[in-house]
């Protein structure tokens, strides 16, 4: 872990090792606390803390752009996630204790399998040996890549995100160009062709639906 490149130019590596284990510990611990807290806000921002620790580990590894970008992206995303979690989850502040975990066995098994698989890849796989030039500017390399071979990916991502933006507006905003977008709409019935299933914005269905939507 001590082979930091880029900004890490220290001759002693001991504090880097120490920082790595500390940050890794914070990342794992706060990730675990996400599922133990009752408050949606705390859960969101514990997850943010976990990501920040991961970002800091990336910085230690010399990924100066990806690490800082991780802080940036996750701050915005967890903020938005917190807004939606509080908006749609019952008992958002956990005033009544509750269990945040659903299907714990399945989730646990999936988690263990994913961890073993990824760790196995990390340990066993034969990564190509292409170290960046010493003192090289990793941001510049990334930029050249984005305007070179990866340009198509970049542009497709742009178009995909445009589709996302339009989809987001269509699905979430009630206001429309010609007035409320649900004007004249009729909620579907519980059985095919049945009468409308109650108030479209009722507590349980509205909340749960929109929440899943977000994830």
């Amino acid at each position: 872990m001590g082979r930091g490149a880029g900004v890490v130019r220290g001759d002693s590596v001991s504090w880097i090792d120490l920082a790595f284990y500390l940050l890794a510990g914070i990342a794992v611990y706060s990730g675990w606390r996400v599922f133990r807290t009752d408050s949606m806000v705390r859960a969101s921002f514990l997850l943010l803390l976990s990501f920040i620790a991961v970002g800091a580990v990336m910085l230690l590894l010399g990924a100066v752009y990806l690490g800082v970008a991780m802080f940036f992206m996750m701050a915005v995303e967890m903020m938005v996630m917190a807004l939606f979690m509080v908006m749609f989850m019952m008992n958002p502040a956990g005033l009544n204790p509750m269990n945040m975990v659903h299907q714990p066995r399945l989730a646990g098994a999936a988690g263990i399998i994913a961890f073993v698989a990824l760790a196995g890849v990390g340990l066993v796989a034969d990564f190509p040996e292409r170290p960046p030039a010493a003192g090289g500017d990793v941001v510049r390399i990334l930029g050249t890549e984005l305007l070179g071979d990866s340009m198509l990916v970049f542009e497709s991502a742009g178009v995909a995100l445009l589709a996302t933006m339009i989809g987001v507006v269509v699905l979430s905003a009630r206001s429309g160009r010609f007035g409320p977008s649900d004007d004249g709409s009729r909620p579907p019935g519980l059985v095919p062709g049945g009468p409308p299933a109650g108030d479209p914005g009722s507590d349980a269905s509205g909340g749960g639906h929109a929440h899943h939507h977000h994830h």
Partner: protein, 420 residues
């Protein structure tokens, strides 16, 4: 007193003012005093000022506010009745002693209190909870019970986008700084949008400035009336500025209101107020009165809606000065603020002309007061019910801006028209 306390004592005294009936002007004067800083919440204050005789209906609210000052703190009772439970209440009557007394109390608080002023409300949670419920925190299931002493908010339909999310029910006032003193609003909020508003108590009535009352009795110099009108409008605009975070310009308005004289114009006023973007606090159309409501309101509120209703047009004294009422179109919050600005300018010009010609009012049956037509027995109409129809749908800040643009406080006539 160590050096830190001595340093702390050199600053202005943070005072939370619970304003009783007829005390708005006194408190505005106090806001200009450099030794006092009027703060917006009791949490920021070290001295509670109870100004005026707070009616018994607001007693519980006053006790709540009193309890919310962080201890140590002190209470000054200015022309008001102290709580009977207090052993040695600080009471004063003379306005000129107010600032000094506040400062003295503040120093005493800093030196260390002599004894604990009791919290006058029982030390119990809003709802009993300890040891109850599933986990001993008072709650039941996901949303039920009263965890930690209060229930959780429940969902309700929404006015705007139809998402049925939780509504926050609360009562605001009578001592909330953004509302006229005495006004208690029951509000339902979804997000920051008002869903329902009910007036639980009207604002305390305010006495009209003395020149208006005297004009009901005898001819009065028009200059005096118009300066009083400008002073009133400046005070109201200062409140609106204060709400928009412009306390300093607001104090400038209050200061100039204190120093108005015939022949002086406030040329900086329009650029300062309009240049600050005050009108950007509210969208166009917010707080718009219907034609009937505007006519019922009378005064500047009606003129802001295009109704040229003005008792001054009936007065020969004013007609000689070439008085024409100024009006706006729109009748919304922005229009009413603009109307005040225009009327201040008009009043100052009228005052200048009236002094030159020594013009007096001629008729005394009805006088155009700062909020509308004043007669000996007729109170201007109560606009409070209007709030219940125009506030729903407003965002919190817009709702307070609408309130800051309406003449809500009733008029307290010193000569009661009806005797019991």
């Amino acid at each position: 007193m160590n050096w830190l306390r001595a340093l702390a004592a050199t600053g202005p005294v943070p005072v939370y003012a619970a304003v009783g009936p007829g005390m708005t002007d006194e408190v505005r004067r106090l806001a200009l005093d450099p030794v006092v800083e009027l703060v917006a919440t009791p949490r920021h204050a070290s001295v509670l000022l109870v100004a005026g005789a707070v009616p018994p209906s607001a007693d519980a609210a006053l006790r709540r506010v009193h309890a919310q000052l962080p201890w140590p703190c002190a209470t000054l009772w200015y022309r008001s009745r102290p709580f009977p439970e207090l052993d040695y209440p600080q009471v004063i009557e003379a306005p000129e002693m107010l600032a000094g007394a506040l400062q003295e109390l503040h120093r005493a608080v800093l030196r260390g209190p002599r004894g604990r002023e009791p919290v006058l409300l029982p030390d119990v949670p809003p709802a009993p909870f300890e040891g109850r419920g599933d986990y001993g925190q008072g709650g039941e299931g996901m949303m039920g019970g009263t965890p930690y002493g209060r229930p959780m908010a429940m969902t309700t339909d929404d006015l705007r986008d139809g998402l049925a999310l939780d509504k926050l029910e609360l009562s605001l006032g009578p001592f909330f700084r953004g509302l006229p003193s005495g006004l208690v609003l029951g509000l339902s909020l979804q997000g920051d949008v008002v869903q329902r508003c009910s007036v639980e108590a009207p604002p305390y009535p305010e006495p009209p400035a003395p020149p208006f009352l005297q004009a009901l009795e005898r001819p009065m110099p028009i200059a005096a009336l118009e300066l009083a009108r400008a002073r009133h409008h400046l005070g109201r605009l200062a409140e609106a500025l204060d709400l928009a975070g412009l306390g300093a310009p607001g104090r400038r308005l209050l200061r100039s209101a204190g120093g108005l004289a015939p022949g002086r114009r406030l040329r900086w006023l329009g650029p300062l107020v309009l240049g600050s973007g005050l009108l950007g606090c509210v969208g166009t159309g917010h707080g718009r009165l219907t034609r009937d409501q505007a006519v019922g309101a009378g005064g500047p509120a009606a003129r802001a809606a295009g109704q040229a209703m003005d008792a001054r047009t009936e007065d020969p004294g004013y007609r000689q000065l070439g008085f024409e009422p100024v009006v706006q179109r729109g009748g919304d919050t922005r229009a009413r603020w603009r109307q005040w600005l225009d009327e201040i300018d008009q009043s100052l010009r009228l005052a200048a002309r009236a002094v030159d010609t020594d013009a007096h009012t001629a008729s005394s049956g009805a006088v155009e007061g700062p909020c509308g037509r004043l007669t000996r027995d007729g109170n201007p109409p109560d606009l409070c019910p209007v709030l219940e129809s125009i506030l729903p749908g407003c965002e919190w800040g817009e709702a307070l801006a609408v309130i800051a643009s309406l003449p809500l406080a009733g008029t307290m006539m010193p000569f009661p028209a009806v005797t019991a």
